[in-house]
Symmetry: C2
């Protein structure tokens, strides 16, 4: 088969080509996160959020129902996850920050799944020791994001399997290979762990009720490439006596280089959370922009922020205030600012952000137990 | 596809048709358990065993190598298992008794796996509660068989998954769906738990080394229908740094009715370990035999013990002494004894056996902890 370079492929394990988000909403059968829904969220939250305003989160399932329940006094819990196949980069933190906002504003519990079994199954060259190392390493970044330790439970699939297997076997019994193949595109060359894995990703959506007996809605903030998992999870949920999980879905956070999603495997495409400030600055200065070939031309014609990765950083992280963003956009389009100058604005923001995150990451080493799933075992024994 | 009634089908989940054991050895690629090997076993054991003498155990993999290692001072451990999809019947106990003999005579550790995840995946009508109930129930029968508590560890897949998942994921990564389909005949309608399961059945073959660091051979006493699992397990073993497990394989223990293997799902075909003596006696009296149509004819022509289920009971359990067995066989073939009389000999033997087993089964309720995998967790933490 010939793959055109720009053909869109979006699965939980592969995102490539030119992403058409409207088509994803249609093909995946999700709903657009419209202004009316955003207003409902803001009303409860008591404030708006720039990631919603700027359509970073753009799609959802069942959020109307979740808010109805919330208004009736029926709180939801949050579930999100991370596949620890490498180091965390700044792009990974973006939806986590939004998740933290949801946790803070809605006062909800969060189950954060580290899918180390998944990454071991799906990454041929990832050794078991690698994946264990990244599990620990990535947990530090999760904690450094600032989630509430009293309400946040980090689940590590392999280490916490005793809490999860009982539910996973019940999910797995209800999903045939035919279904898994249709939803995820599995080939016969897929290993039997990878085929099993979707059962594990369903578990945190059901774990809360399983452990506490409380039947409350589940909201999954995640990138839209994970939606195939939620289709399977939703399909089995009611058969097993659980609510179908709702979700609120974000676009892919673009990298520092042209096109595609930010990737930890392409060293210059992303700033890692552990990058030394000097290296981060270097990456920023080498970023792809929408600038012109010469300074003269740019002063005259202006640049294009729509394709600029520096502008994306402002949009998704560093300029939550619309006035700041409009200001830099105006300067960019008018040619008042050159790309080098603009990067000089981003660089210290990035450095400050990294310094804070890295300090929190150091502290996290002493705080891992505060987020441990061990507390769920105690809860389960009650 | 048309299936002839006598077409042989032998997989871990289905045994039907006329069983050709020579063909199984050839097709599965195992070795015949010959006199030379039996003698080597007896030499170390210090005695012979009627189940070997009578070819109940008839096939093996790598037992020569295991005995070589044993003679060098390198002990093996035993691994066997049971799928708790129903109650245990007398036929199930037969290979367990042989396993106990191996444990006693060779002084080895035994890992006894209760594959409750497997049975849940493979039996569409078995509920999760059913399988949990049978797991407990079957454990009582295992304990009542008389294994050495100091050397025996009952592993329950779901309950002891924390000990097993780490190894299972490493096995699963090395087995593709193509392989699993070729070895086990999985269809696309198989659920993803069933596809995953072979990774779980491999685990106890590797667990000892994983937990203790001791690289010692593993011997699996089992019915030959389990051999496909060991092919997969052996295939991945060395890649993961373990020895390939050896095995010693038995024929199917026939039921009380004509043909097939003893089955707990056909109530008259098998005596359950929990049957009341009266019911067990009734089952014995209703058993299929090789008798003639009339007493007169039988007195004249004799009967045929080769197809008689009562004679099979003598052979596999109740007459370990060859003289007893030869005596009854002679009387049968000569017409000296009628089937009803012969059943009257078996019935009290069965009743006595059941009474002893059931008493041990009652005691087992207080002794479950003695066989618990909990001790392995302590070992693992060392």
């Amino acid at each position: 088969m010939s793959d055109k370079d720009d053909e869109m492929v979006v699965t939980p394990w592969e995102v490539r080509g030119k992403i058409d988000y409207d088509r994803l909403i249609k093909e995946f059968g999700t709903q657009r996160l419209d202004d009316k829904l955003k207003k409902r969220i803001y009303k409860i939250a008591g404030e708006s959020h720039f990631m919603l305003e700027r359509d970073l989160f753009f799609s959802h399932r069942d959020m109307d129902w979740v808010l109805n329940e919330y208004e009736k006094g029926d709180k939801f819990f949050l579930y999100t996850g991370r596949g620890p196949s490498g180091q965390v980069h700044i792009g990974h933190l973006v939806p986590w920050m939004f998740t933290k906002w949801l946790q803070d504003r809605f006062g909800t519990r969060l189950y954060f799944q580290l899918t180390n079994d998944e990454k071991f199954f799906f990454e041929p060259d990832l050794s078991y020791d690698d994946v264990k190392g990244f599990t620990y390493d990535n947990a530090l970044d999760i904690i450094a994001t600032g989630f509430d330790p009293e309400k946040t439970y980090i689940l590590q699939d392999i280490e916490d399997i005793d809490l999860m297997y009982e539910i996973a076997v019940q999910v797995a019994k209800k999903v045939t290979f035919s279904t898994a193949r249709a939803v995820f595109g599995f080939e016969n060359s897929m290993n039997i762990g990878g085929i099993w894995y979707p059962a594990m990703q369903a578990v945190p959506a059901f774990l809360h009720q399983h452990l506490t007996g409380e039947k409350v809605p589940c909201v999954i903030p995640c990138a839209i490439d994970q939606d195939p998992h939620w289709r399977v999870t939703r399909d089995v949920a009611e058969k097993l006596g659980y609510y179908k999980p709702a979700s609120i879905q974000n676009r892919f956070v673009p990298g520092l280089q042209e096109g595609g999603k930010m990737s930890a495997s392409d060293p210059m495409s992303a700033v890692l959370t552990t990058d030394k400030p000097k290296l981060a600055k270097k990456k920023v200065m080498a970023a792809f922009t929408g600038g012109r070939d010469t300074a003269e031309e740019q002063r005259k014609l202006g640049a294009n922020p729509d394709i600029c990765s520096v502008f994306k950083y402002y949009t998704f992280i560093f300029m939550p205030d619309d006035k700041d963003l409009e200001n830099i956009e105006k300067k960019c389009r008018s040619g008042e600012i050159l790309c080098g100058e603009c990067k000089q604005i981003l660089a210290p923001m990035m450095v400050e952000f990294l310094e804070n995150h890295q300090a929190a990451r150091e502290e996290a080493k002493e705080r891992i137990h505060e987020f441990s799933a061990e507390r769920l075992r105690t809860e389960a024994r009650k």
